[in-house]
């Protein structure tokens, strides 16, 4: 298969940035999207040109490192799929694809398709944990958790922190990310003691990081590679109201 790629190239945060066009030739339909980029990069490198920078690591859809806008969609056209798990057979031969980084004020650009998502780490630092020092734990079965709650908590905990929700949202809101962590921990009895503090602190840090507000458009859920549900956002809103009341 052959593709024309319009790729955002930007040397660093201070550079202006521009689109450049590349040809991806003789690509196997069984190759992944990132493998297609590897082929292009190898050709560039062989000519002594700098490869297109993009984040990636596990290439299994779980580490959350990869991610880019592919022709206007976060992680490309396929639902519930990270960029690394996207295969070229999902595209038409001869197609032109536009590759851009996540665009959000809270995710400053690093280079080409690489952005700085450390704001997510700061949000977790604000309260995305259960305060239990090593060695403090009671027997794991001393506190039963109803299976349904455990399953719901796991659904929320499946978030990989890739940032697609922010990139897909017209307001660049991080509500899906924050609500997934708040839900995961609020749904478990272990997380109950810190519910109020956690919710308030995480939301505050999210606002300070420059993410936008949620206007319930649902683009985040539609583009999330892990299908994290926006019902988590509803839960976060309830948790927040409850926290405000109790604090």
């Amino acid at each position: 298969m052959n593709f024309t790629l319009n790729v955002w190239r930007q040397k660093n945060a201070n550079d202006q940035g521009r689109f450049e066009t590349y040809q991806a030739k003789n690509i196997s339909p069984e190759a992944s999207f990132l493998e297609m980029l590897d082929v292009v990069n190898n050709e560039l490198e062989a000519e002594g040109k700098e490869p297109i920078a993009f984040d990636h690591d596990c290439r299994e859809g779980i580490c959350g490192a990869c991610g880019m806008m592919i022709s206007g969609r976060a992680h490309g056209p396929r639902a519930a799929t990270t960029t690394c798990q996207l295969y070229m057979r999902n595209f038409q031969d001869g197609e032109t694809l536009t590759l851009e980084p996540w665009r959000a004020k809270a995710f400053p650009l690093v280079r080409d398709l690489v952005v700085d998502r450390s704001a997510f780490d700061r949000i977790i630092q604000a309260g995305g944990f259960i305060s239990v020092n090593t060695g403090n734990a009671a027997d794991a079965n001393a506190l039963p958790v109803p299976k349904d709650n455990a399953e719901l908590a796991m659904d929320a905990a499946a978030c990989i922190g890739c940032g697609a929700c922010v990139a897909a949202c017209k307001n660049a809101s991080a509500m899906l990310f924050v609500s997934a962590k708040v839900s995961h921990l609020a749904l478990l009895p272990q997380g109950d003691a810190e519910r109020v503090r956690r919710t308030l602190n995480m939301v505050k840090t999210m606002d300070e990081a420059g993410f936008g507000n949620c206007s319930n458009t649902g683009a985040c859920e539609a583009e999330c590679p892990k299908s994290i549900s926006i019902s988590n956002i509803a839960r976060l809103n309830r948790e927040y109201a409850r926290a405000k009341l109790l604090s």
């Binding site: 690509i27 295969y87 794991a140």
Partner: protein
């Protein structure tokens, strides 16, 4: 060099407890005076950083990803072992200990393995308290499953995302310490050298991968938790960034490298589909609980899988190993698959695959039940291969997955360089010649949460530390070496890309030092690697500069180290004239084609000592003794 394991004596059940009691403690008020450098944020590094922060130490934490949460541990699917015996099926710390020693073919220390089994139960408690959403039964209690190489159900799991959930638990605990001011995180920082000053590890030199800045960090001890080096083979199930660099740097400063020839090749991976392929995807071993492995009885049978009647299928694992059947340990299942494919009975493109068939499980349990257990795995398989595992059997083939070898450490997890500790997959410690499924997560967390907090304290309290800061000459030397090497890589300006060298090295390793090794293949390999290395340094092309984000340069540095390390691996494989676990020497096999160990001559750890650039490394030996699990034949029949 004499390798002192520092293992305690006495009854095995009491060793760790007694040892802990006799260790020196650091005065709580003094802990804040110590700075501990932790390289790596996988299960081992994140759990260590969090726990040491909680205890009051100042922790500097490094990783090459943009966030600590993305360490390769995140990709572990299947589960984590613990001897809880919640299932009442006869499990105990002793049985887990026994299974692990036997599974590793009597090539690990009894003291270490027992400690691991003993601690396993605390790990589950800790993780549950952190909110790790483990799978549960309707009664709300924790669920278990069985895993390759075990006859009891002792594996805890969180769907197919156990590593992710355990890592997020450890990462969150670590983030909590960031807020407490005890842990400082340096993401996108690659460690490029270890600094040894006045005989002890006192710091590291890193490259800020965004600005290109080379930086020095000084501390009182360095913990290397940098994971495995399976990417030596280019194609592996590891994340793309996994590397040998940090431990290879430590090796060059005197840390011995133990058993690099023990490579785990996992039987259930999606087969290779083309030369553009960048990695291989693991299909969790848990699938072997319900999937049956088979090949057509006749070589070259081209019929579709579903058209081949049972009588013409060879369920070779069930046939060869009636007790364990499809749950035979990884090394055994991998070799059996290779044997079938070598005999022409393999399936799929190039005949490099065997079937993993869910037909019978679907009949017995229905698709819904299987979805509950393996939904993501079936989806992943479908997405990658465009085939539906519910409708036709999956195709699988072995791939490099885990490295049992690594830096030699004593019972305290300290390498042969004082003050340089090694945790998780990066050390050689607990799995012997073969690791059992769901035991790596257990080991990483045991090392980080429950062992290092004690042994590090003992080291700090019992040795004198002259103040060393980053102006010490050793830091300057290390920085100069790092800068020099980067400049050299950029200056070659030859014709070949980094990946082309990495692929060539990987293929050489796979063919000469993969699932089967011979004296001939290894001798050849020992000639081919230096030649490839020479070409690398003459004909590599790394574009760009070292003053900003340069992913080609990052890869080049890692491949340069693989090109040296591969040679040591081959040497180790050549010298170990026996077969055991992840090291199968064709010359040493039983009549049935199983491993033939040589306990008289090789019941030891081989730990290689660096002697200088053009010198042969020295093979040091630490003898292994077995008092509890008697040396025996590892039979899974």
């Amino acid at each position: 060099m004499e390798l002192k394991s520092n293992c305690p004596g006495g009854p095995i059940e009491k060793r760790w407890e007694d040892y802990k009691f006799h260790m020196k403690l650091v005065n709580p008020a003094n802990k804040r005076k110590y700075t501990i450098i932790v390289v790596g944020t996988g299960l081992a590094g994140a759990s260590a950083a969090a726990t040491l922060g909680e205890l009051g130490y100042n922790v500097l934490s490094f990783c090459y990803q943009d966030s600590p949460r993305r360490a390769h541990s995140i990709a572990a699917q299947g589960g984590i072992n613990a001897a809880k015996n919640y299932q009442n099926d006869g499990d105990s710390a002793y049985r887990l200990f026994y299974d692990t020693v036997k599974g590793g073919e009597w090539r690990a220390r009894e003291s270490n393995v027992y400690r691991l089994a003993e601690i396993s139960v605390n790990i589950i408690d800790q993780c549950a308290a952190q909110g790790v959403p483990f799978a549960r039964e309707y009664g709300g209690l924790l669920a278990n499953r069985s895993f390759g190489g075990a006859l009891v159900s002792r594996t805890f799991y969180a769907r197919g995302q156990t590593g992710q959930q355990l890592l997020l638990g450890a990462y969150q605990a670590m983030m909590r310490q960031v807020t407490a001011g005890k842990v400082k995180v340096f993401s996108r920082h690659e460690m490029l050298d270890l600094v040894v000053a006045d005989g002890a590890a006192r710091g590291i030199v890193t490259r800020d991968m965004v600005s290109g800045k080379i930086e020095r960090f000084a501390g009182d001890a360095v913990l290397l938790c940098t994971g495995g080096y399976g990417n030596l083979y280019y194609l592996s199930t590891n994340a793309k960034g996994c590397n040998v660099t940090s431990i290879w740097r430590a090796y060059k400063h005197g840390a011995c490298m133990a058993n690099p020839c023990y490579t785990q090749i996992h039987p259930t991976c999606i087969p290779v589909s083309g030369d553009y392929q960048s990695k291989l995807t693991l299909m969790s071993e848990s699938l072997r609980n319900d999937g049956r492995v088979w090949v057509p009885k006749t070589a070259g049978d081209k019929r579709a899988a579903n058209e081949i009647p049972d009588a013409e299928r060879d369920y070779y694992l069930e046939r060869k190993y009636p007790t364990y059947g499809n749950l035979a340990p990884r090394d055994i299942a991998s070799r059996a698959a290779k044997e079938q494919c070598d005999a022409g009975r393999g399936v799929g493109p190039g005949g490099k695959g065997v079937y993993l068939d869910f037909r019978d499980a679907l009949k017995a349990q229905g698709q819904k039940k299987l979805e509950e257990k393996y939904k993501e795995l079936f989806e992943m398989y479908h997405n990658i291969t465009n085939e539906d595992g519910y409708k036709q059997p999956m195709r699988i083939y072995p791939a490099v997955h885990y490295t049992m070898g690594g830096l030699w450490v004593d019972y305290n997890l300290m390498s042969s360089v004082p003050g340089c500790f090694v945790l998780g997959e990066a050390n050689f410690s607990d799995h012997g010649a073969n690791r059992l499924g769901a035991s790596a997560l257990m080991q990483g967390l045991a090392d980080g949460y429950f062992i290092i907090p004690y042994t590090l304290g003992h080291y700090l309290a019992s040795s004198k530390h002259p103040k060393v800061d980053a102006n010490h000459a050793a830091f300057k030397d290390a920085e100069d070496a790092v800068t020099g090497k980067l400049k050299k890589l950029l200056a070659i300006k030859g014709k070949r890309t980094v990946d082309s060298f990495h692929k060539e090295l990987g293929l050489l390793m796979w063919e000469h030092c993969g699932m089967a090794r011979t004296e001939k293949s290894l001798t050849e390999l020992l000639q081919k690697i230096p030649a490839l290395r020479e070409e690398f340094w003459k004909n590599l092309n790394v574009p760009g500069s070292d003053a900003d984000l340069n992913q080609a340069l990052e890869r080049a540095g890692r491949v340069a180290d693989f090109l040296e390390f591969g040679e040591l691996t081959a040497r180790d494989a050549l010298e170990r004239k026996e077969s055991c676990g992840g090291h199968f020497r064709v010359e040493y096999q039983t009549e049935e084609g199983e491993c033939k160990r040589d306990d008289d001559n090789f019941c030891h750890v081989a730990a290689w000592e660096y002697k200088g650039e053009d010198q042969k490394p020295v093979r040091n030996v630490e003898p292994l003794e077995f008092k509890y699990v008697e040396l025996g034949v590892r039979s899974y029949k």
